[in-house]
């Protein structure tokens, strides 16, 4: 009897042991990198030793407030707020630039946010509402909605999302008796706002040099600065070293929307849905975070912009598909994808809103308030696709397209900057769209899990596997990657 108990304990402790091992390995691998003797102190003639930085390198970069000159030294021309620039302004890299109101506005985070949301996210999410029905129909040998039209413009029924929006706006906004009015009104906003905020970390395009649009850009020259490359616009709203952590933190808040909706609705089914949604989030958040740790170990950064700009290793161009993380972290990709679908609360993980059992946390909502929950779900699909694109599929990178044109297979095709930028933004959109499509495929292929199957999958399979993934990645890095070399 006692022995059996011990065995049971051992099985329970297995994930914990894995975690401890993984952490130990992490510590060892990190520690070893620090123990590298400073070769440059003894051999200053070695290549790479004379320079403080390399222009445009995401790794050998200058500290904040300074920029890298072409001779490999970090220099500070100005500090924000001082007089050294005269009529110009000082950039974050400590460089004087002629200020231009237009480009200042374009480089303003709110502007970029508005452009990203209005030009990419909302159209994609809206079209998804139609695509979900049309695609599911085609998978089931039906036609699906194909009739909505404005006069003769039919577009295979894409305009159904306009009809849906108009319908939801003009429907009665019914608030049942006994609901908590404040929280009831707050919940849909809480569900949708965090997703919008989380988009801040996604790099949806390369850095644009507005004065050099027609030129073919030498990447090293661009980073050295100069008149042609001033007013650069980075197509990422917020660049921060803890980008992916930020996304975990913010997207978790979205779950409060569902939970509070369930709580405020004064309805048993809604409350059950809210509880299920919280329990599901708690179970899958762990595996989701851990499954990205492998990618973090490979790249050495949680900054999505850097993951895209560098790829898995600095030995290859980031535009080389071999350098994209789906080849380096296939298990991580699979685990993250599964956990992310659970996070969006869609089939097969849609027990919080399982229609035949409980309608879900938004059972008491109608009209546009319900529409917000609906839209939040689709924006989450877009967001998850954008994250997977960014981390695992090279973000905005087009295969073999460098800043100055196509390179590869012994050939080169120089392209002007504007074409490169457009191609790369398009590539980001296309990859995101394809992943959205794949999520819809999964949603209409798999039936819903039972609650216990859901928990089993999350705790007994995804979590140990993601721990093992971290461990194996750390081991490989520890054994096979030269310390101090490419991360």
């Amino acid at each position: 009897m006692r022995r059996k108990k011990m065995q049971k304990m051992r099985i329970i402790l297995r994930p914990a042991r894995l975690a401890v091992l993984a952490l130990l390995l992490l510590a060892v691998s990190c520690g070893r990198e620090k123990d590298v003797p400073d070769l440059c102190a003894t051999n200053p003639q070695l290549p790479g030793c004379q320079v403080q930085c390399v222009v445009n390198s995401p790794v050998l970069k200058c500290p904040a407030g300074s920029h890298c000159d072409a001779d490999g030294t970090c220099s500070v021309s100005c500090v924000r707020g001082d007089e050294r620039c005269g009529s110009g302004t000082c950039t974050a890299e400590g460089r004087c630039v002629e200020s231009s109101l237009l480009f200042d506005i374009l480089d303003f985070p709110a502007t970029k946010w508005a452009i990203l949301i209005l030009a990419l996210v909302m159209p994609l999410a809206s079209i998804l509402t139609w695509m979900e029905r049309r695609q599911s129909a085609m998978m089931q040998d039906r036609l699906g909605p194909n009739r909505a039209n404005i006069g003769p413009i039919k577009l295979k029924g894409i305009l159904h999302f306009v009809a849906d929006a108009v319908k939801m706006i003009f429907k009665e906004d019914f608030i049942p008796a006994n609901v908590h009015k404040g929280l009831f009104a707050l919940a849909p906003i809480l569900a949708i706002a965090p997703v919008f905020i989380a988009f801040a970390i996604i790099p949806f395009g390369p850095t644009i040099y507005p004065h050099a649009l027609t030129e073919t850009i030498d990447p090293y020259l661009a980073s050295a600065g100069g008149d042609l490359f001033r007013d650069s616009i980075r197509l990422q709203i917020w660049q921060t070293d803890f980008g992916l952590i930020f996304y975990f933190a913010i997207l978790t808040l979205a779950n409060y929307g569902g939970t509070i909706a369930g709580w405020a609705s004064y309805n048993k089914w809604a409350l059950l849905g809210g509880l299920r949604s919280s329990s599901q989030m708690m179970s899958y958040e762990v595996a989701m975070g851990l499954s990205l740790m492998g990618a973090f170990l490979v790249v050495g950064s949680l900054e999505p912009g850097l993951i895209v700009a560098q790829g898995a290793t600095t030995e290859m161009s980031p535009a080389n598909p071999l350098n994209w993380l789906f080849l380096w972290q296939p298990v991580g990709l699979l685990l993250f994808f599964t956990a992310a679908i659970a996070e969006t609360k869609r089939a097969p993980f849609d027990i919080p809103e399982g229609e035949p059992e409980i309608i879900g946390y938004f059972v008491e909502y109608s009209g546009l308030r319900w529409g917000l929950f609906f839209l939040a779900e689709f924006i989450e699909i877009v967001f998850i696709s954008a994250v997977i694109t960014t981390v695992f599929f090279g973000g905005y990178q087009v295969p073999f397209l460098e800043t100055d044109g196509f390179h590869g297979f012994g050939m080169a095709l120089p392209l002007p900057h504007v074409v490169v930028v457009l191609l790369q933004i398009l590539a980001f959109g296309a990859k995101t769209f394809l992943l959205c499509w794949f999520q819809l495929m999964i949603r209409w292929t798999l039936p819903r899990f039972r609650a216990d199957q859901l928990m089993n999958l999350g705790w007994k399979l995804l979590l140990p596997l993601s721990l093992a993934n971290v461990m194996v990645t750390a081991l490989i890095k520890l054994l096979f990657i030269k310390p101090g070399g490419a991360p």
């Binding site: 085609m138 998978m139 040998d141 036609l143 495929m441 292929t445 199957q453 007994k460």
Partner: protein, 238 residues
């Protein structure tokens, strides 16, 4: 999963395996038992193979329906038509207002009032059809026809298509082949209930001449009848 676990699945078919019986009823039936529960193995709970298989099936349907054109209308619409057409998709939908299927010969559609040879209404306002109508949807107001041989005709003949249950009893009851439902048309969607009422004019507009002889003029169907042959074909139907 690909590797078979036949020994794992075997107990499921015969029920849980009884490990021990702790207590029994007086008649010997087991009361408290310890049974072995077969839990799914890790490779069964990963759902990976099943997911891949399912995705393959749905992807096949999706791709086929997305890239291939639709089947011919006849193949989609007709029951018993061969289901498989090469290089065509599998969607069976008939897009109604643009595409219409031919209805069966005996499909009961909108009513029509048949006409006499001179174009007058054939109905003699005998009131058989409003009497037999289970939905009370037929209203006839009769008037004198002015023809001594015919006596009556409907001044108004209205059918409320919203109340009509399309049972066809009116057609069966009519002694003069004056009302028929062989137009092959649906009751139309209307935005006002009043528009759903078929009038004498609208039903005569759909009217055709009856092939039945009328008023004793012309050849009588009895004329060709063989003595005692009750099964002779009535001329009214051809």
């Amino acid at each position: 999963m690909s590797h078979g676990h036949d020994h794992d699945h075997a107990p499921v078919a015969t029920g849980p395996k009884v490990l021990a019986v702790h207590a029994k009823y007086a008649d010997g039936r087991p009361r408290v038992r310890t049974v072995q529960v077969v839990r799914p193995q890790a490779e069964d709970t990963s759902f990976l193979a099943a997911t891949a298989k399912g995705l393959g099936i749905t992807l096949k349907h999706f791709a086929r329906n997305l890239f291939f054109p639709m089947k011919k209308l006849a193949t989609r619409a007709e029951a018993g038509a061969p289901a498989e057409e090469k290089w065509k998709n599998e969607i069976e939908t008939v897009q109604y207002p643009e595409e219409k299927v031919t209805y069966p010969e005996r499909f009961r559609g909108l009513h029509r009032l048949t006409l006499r040879d001179d174009g007058a209404v054939r109905c003699v306002a005998c009131m058989c059809c409003p009497t037999v109508c289970p939905a009370h949807c037929i209203t006839i107001i009769p008037e004198e026809s002015g023809d001594a041989g015919i006596e009556k005709r409907p001044a108004q003949f209205e059918i409320d298509e919203l109340r009509c249950v399309v049972c066809g009893l009116c057609v069966e009851a009519c002694p003069c082949d004056a009302i028929r439902m062989d137009t092959g048309e649906h009751a139309r969607p209307v935005e006002d209930r009043a528009n759903a009422i078929e009038t004498k004019a609208s039903m005569m507009a759909r009217g055709i001449r009856s092939t039945a002889t009328q008023g004793g003029e012309g050849p009588n169907w009895r004329d060709g009848q063989v003595e005692g042959g009750a099964s002779a074909e009535p001329g009214a139907h051809h």
